[in-house]
Symmetry: D2
């Protein structure tokens, strides 16, 4: 007998307004519409202009898109001259009036433009798509990075953690949501509806997602969880078709084996930490027997690093020609070669995850950065843990457990945030040390 | 057989996170917590600091509040020197990097602080309350207006029209929502639950509100509507206890007879226009017979203006001692005096609403500004339309119908927005002209 | 993150069909309509006839109602001649065909009539009302008892426990449901909305109800629960306006202090046992600290029995003129007299509850029969426990705790069901024995 | 802004109790449990016995099932001797008491047994399954027909139209419901999730189902509808993968092209009529442009009848060897032969549908009986309308439109119900007459 239903009702209205309704054009170009929208007073005509801008944008050619973003970047920018003048005025007299003028001038006009467009029902999702288009152009048009910063700033405010709706995804979920889970799964591809069902229906499987009220049809991020006994060392075991289903109350460990961001257009707006935190809280309340929260994570950058690093070049200590070995293993399905090198590979992975840093002093591996940043520690490294072609190709089949130790999350988080300290289990530390020692001795030998 | 129920489910999560959970303090002062929160990396410890800040704020003494807002205003302000330097850098080289530095410096730190506090579950409502405290201090501490601008800026973004949830309020609504309708009604007070029921239960009455997903328990604004035959000229007739209930399908007119903003802390963030627009759309779809959308609105500034203006002073054309007449009418309940002056009062009201302008060229009356700004026109003016003490005291019992003519809303809106043109019916125009002519001839006589 | 929302959606359809829509008559009388409905094939025209019958019934005069029920009783009865013939046929040849004929003849036509009426949307509630009318006539028209048996039989099937929807009632519940709680409260009257709120809003109060999908606006039964420390001995303490609210997690006891059946028309269809069972299950899951489930119940028949029994007559052992004492206590508000007699009254109450039986060997008190039948035991008896006029008038202010000991419910239920054994605590047993001994010795003295 | 959400909440409880929880046995046999359950007083222990009976039943061997149903049929039957005695008593004295005894004896004990089992949460669906097992045994155990009558009687009461929940099925529906649509589709098989999506997602497709509150996971019946322009003559055109999607507002016709009962165990409990009625009402309200409601229905018995009838035997008027032609057409995919015979086939189908009757005077075709019984008329007959192997095999690819003319449904329903009158369009009448004339002249020629 849970509590009130008014809120269900409240959200029914979300649905009615979900779809963005296209608007017929009235002859104005998209940039004219933007000019008019930013100049307009009141909302009555603004809604129509906002709708037209979104419709028009969706019909632009690739060149048209470039032109449009160029317009946003160059014509809706900050007027630096004016800004300097107003900053001086404010410096001279710190009144609400001078402040108001200053902050108005300090924000590029395109921010207000995007806010006004966002008043249209269903616009939020369209703006997220708009940014995903922008992101594809960034490489060739680096100046658009200025406009992108404004998108990111606004999205950070709109997709504030306090506005997100956590939601369990299961076999009773709507098909239109489930098909998006299939589509967005980025770590271990979901083959079809039967594969999906194996991940969301059994009593020892969970899937959770975050939604935003303005995009109720579209998950922002989701995580897949397996309830198991003991910390797992193989994702294929987790995904096996004919595995035995565990009574959740017999499980002692929750494994986060896949986390996928769904919206390219929300890059840089972080949800993963909050989702993991929420799921840990929910699972603790629901399944009392679970005491260990751990991931089984890919090491996406391992092989790239191995190739680049001395280790791969020198082929030392059983290295061999990694690339060839990997491709041959995938082609023949014969992974014996990789298995033989398991001890060496685990040491290399530990070295890569624990010791190797970028110029900011952060771990090279993005997944490591994510979980360590959340306050996790590196618990274990497994060879032959992901034997899919993708798993072999990116990390010779190795995977890693990041452990979320509830009592130490804050401490680890602080340590990593402030000093980039990488916390590990003793075993992983030993592996990393062994690799480092080996590497140093090699370097010493080489007279480096 | 309406569509999907996933969304009801989605919102169930809103409920679970509605309540703001207080946090125990850890010895740091509220300003220390603010410093630490703004300096922190990552979200893990941020949540706890945000929660502590809100808890601490709710416990502040009046002096403590002043000190806190002073801290926000003076210590979390824009560094104008730095801003000028960075504006110059950006002017010199318009790169994403210089732009990023500029926009970071162009925003007062308190904005980021408030955004970080808002990550905490239930924080949004607490921040709205925080601003309502701030607003009370503005008069004595005008410098706080700078901080207030930042609140308003953020709220404008968070309470974007696209995120609001329109909701019908009726007798099946939750009691905790209904009691807030009683509490927030600002125009025609609701005496008790029976009075409330008369406004939301009968088939010819409607009430609609906007909610925000982060404050599902608390309406932002609501409007009360009566479905009637013909344009009404008395609010007491609408609110009468024993009136006959009309079959909605016999109604031809929807009367917006009360609009109340609920959250002081959201002052300056406008919802009324959107709500009226939404309600008109909904009613048109639901009750086909309704073709006229009109308000029955107070004229809150009429008596004040009458007292101040020549009309009251001169007591011309049947003016008399207005103030005394009003008080006596209220005390004795004898409104005959006011009725006698109905023709003169209607002319004065028309003059006040149509001809009298502030220094920006806008109508003096705030309700007139609101509806005219939405694209309505002044349709009619009624004497003896609100005979409650409040109605007599503020406008000698006069009320006004603003008409929303769906075919002309855009045109009227534009005309008013651009040229402050006040559109009226012929009759009201004639009343206003008569009053103006009279006044001019009087002035001429007086040699003015 | 609870599970699916499809079901919310599913029930949305309940709402659309809740209201019974009246039908215009077509000239046929209500009995003609009944004849035609029972004779009709298919549903198309049946729906309309069913709707007309319900509309027509609601418009009947008192005499018309009697005529109608008489028609149901006498003209829609079993044809016993035909039944005997068909019973003989079936006895001779036990085939599906002879069986079908027999069971068709063995059921009064009015049952099929009521089933067909019930196909109409919203009819179930109307039929419940129809029976409540019938029940009022039973005393003067005992033959209607035959029709009543058919109503009860059908309702027993339709309101099967498996179809009921348990629901928590709280301050977020719809006002139209809450006003029914006010209306239906049968034990301790709810004065107004503030009183209601005190019973459903505080964290240490609960209210649960059963609904039926075909009557979603109308509770069938509800129970009010207080979470407290220790077994309570005063209902006024529970209902006090200014009591301190307890953190539920500090409570060790759940007190069922009021159970009200809402639908007269469902008399004889029992829900109370199931509701208590459901609430106990829910509370155990929700509030782990609660280990004791107990009632604080009225003893509605105590004073009547006292007046009738020797005890009252003889005025023995401190009896006195009970009736006069009671009325004077109520009038003067001086309950000292009753307090003085507390020991004697508790013994009498124990005697009444434990020892006194009706001709079926069941306890005289209906509330005792209900809880003992559910598997509860008599735990304690309190004087000065309900000092409201009603409480004093029915039981001199005494109340009783029935204890639901989860480990013994089945055993006690069986013992009571089979042998009418009344299980009690030692203390209550001692009180009852003392009263019985006293009474016997008195009888012995009196030579009875 | 639709109305209240309490009901969504209400139904949330449905979900919590959906699953039938199995019970451990306590050593008693299933028939001992039945004896004990029927003998028990009160509900406390009854629940457990009911749960055990259902669990035990689900584990029975085929022989065990026969034994169990035999027990129900023979040991829980009516005691005819006692029934006759009590009928005589009631004949002698028509009191509520004699009536109560009579009706208690007139009902087989197994009805009360099933009602008591049904009190268990989730039992209803289990009992429906139980009957589906019983139905499979009926042919070999005709005496079980007596028990089956009791199941049907109870289900008729429990699944009363007034308790059913109509629900639209769409692509936002839960996957666990959608997979049941795939499974239960009985007319035009759904190949996979893509095929399903084509039937429920496009704007010009609809699917509606009935649910029962006690089985919220399992549809009872569903209908698939296409919104089209003009009355369709080919189901393959409706199901085509690459057809153009129609704007619903351009449609003038709603085609019911598939109706499937989902629960074998509910055979004889009719929902189809109500569902069609509900869908017609909903579509009329939602899509104003639709004025024609028509089916595109199979003629399942046509070929069987053709083979049996003189027409097929004589091979007259282009008949030929039907069976061989059909099989060759299916095998080769060459349907030219069938197309050539279209005029003759349409006449035969008209004859079969309109003129041919069973011994009760009803049409031979079950689908015809269903729609005509609902008040539809035969509107048109199409050759080459279902060219799937199944369509060719059962009816040479012919299909029929039954038209629901809203103004005549009642009249047609009555005419068919009372006189078995088959209403048709002129064209179909002409076809049927021509076939009959031809057949008569042939019979005349043959001297028959």
């Amino acid at each position: 007998m849970n509590r009130s239903g008014f809120f269900y009702d409240l959200l029914s209205t979300l649905f009615e307004r979900t779809d963005f309704a296209r608007a017929k054009g009235d002859g104005r170009s998209i940039t004219e519409l933007c000019e008019d929208l930013i100049a307009s007073q009141g909302e009555v005509s603004g809604d129509n202009m906002g709708r037209q801008i979104l419709t028009r944008f969706s019909e632009l050619t690739p060149d048209g898109e470039i032109e449009f973003f160029n317009y946003l970047t160059e014509h809706m920018d900050i007027d630096t001259g004016r800004l300097q003048t107003l900053a001086a005025s404010y410096q001279a007299e710190r009144s609400p009036e001078t402040f108001a003028s200053l902050v108005a001038a300090a924000e590029p006009k395109r921010q207000e433009l995007l806010r006004r467009i966002n008043r249209v029902q269903g616009a939020t999702g369209e703006l997220v798509k708009m940014r995903s288009r922008l992101l594809r152009l960034l490489k060739d048009h680096p100046s658009f990075g200025r406009t992108d910063l404004d998108f990111q700033h606004l999205f950070g405010s709109w997709f504030n953690r306090g506005f997100l709706l956590p939601r369990r995804i299961h076999w009773q979920s709507p098909a239109n949501i489930l098909e998006k889970i299939i589509k967005y799964e980025a770590v271990h591809a979901i083959d079809d509806w039967d594969d999906l069902r194996r991940r969301v229906e059994p009593a020892d499987r969970r899937c959770y997602a975050f939604f935003h009220p303005a995009m109720p049809d579209d998950p922002l991020i989701f995580v897949e969880v397996a309830l198991v006994r003991g910390v797992p060392n193989s994702v294929q075991a987790i995904l096996a078709e004919n595995r035995e289903i565990l009574n959740p109350e017999s499980a002692d460990t929750a494994v986060f084996y896949s986390i996928s961001n769904c919206q390219t257009g929300l890059r840089g707006v972080s949800f993963g930490n909050s989702l993991i935190k929420q799921v840990v809280e929910d699972l603790r309340a629901e399944v009392k027997s679970i005491t260990t929260f751990v991931t089984l994570s890919p090491i996406p950058g391992l092989n790239r690093w191995l190739r680049q690093s001395h280790a791969a070049q020198a082929g030392a200590a059983g290295g061999g020609d990694l690339e060839a070995a990997v491709e041959s293993a995938i082609e023949t399905g014969d992974l014996a070669g990789l298995r033989d090198q398991a001890p060496w590979l685990r040491r290399q992975a530990a070295d890569y995850l624990v010791n190797q840093k970028d110029r900011h002093g952060m771990p090279l591996d993005p997944v490591a950065r994510f979980h360590l940043g959340n306050g996790a520690m590196i618990h274990d490294i497994h060879a032959a843990a992901d034997l899919s072609p993708n798993g072999v190709r990116q990390s010779c089949g190795l995977m890693v457990n990041y452990l979320y130790d509830l009592k130490k999350i804050s401490q680890f988080h602080e340590g990593f945030a402030e000093n980039h300290t990488v916390f590990t289990s003793r075993e992983v530390r030993a592996l990393a040390d062994a690799a480092a020692a080996n590497s140093n001795s090699r370097k010493a030998k080489n007279g480096a």
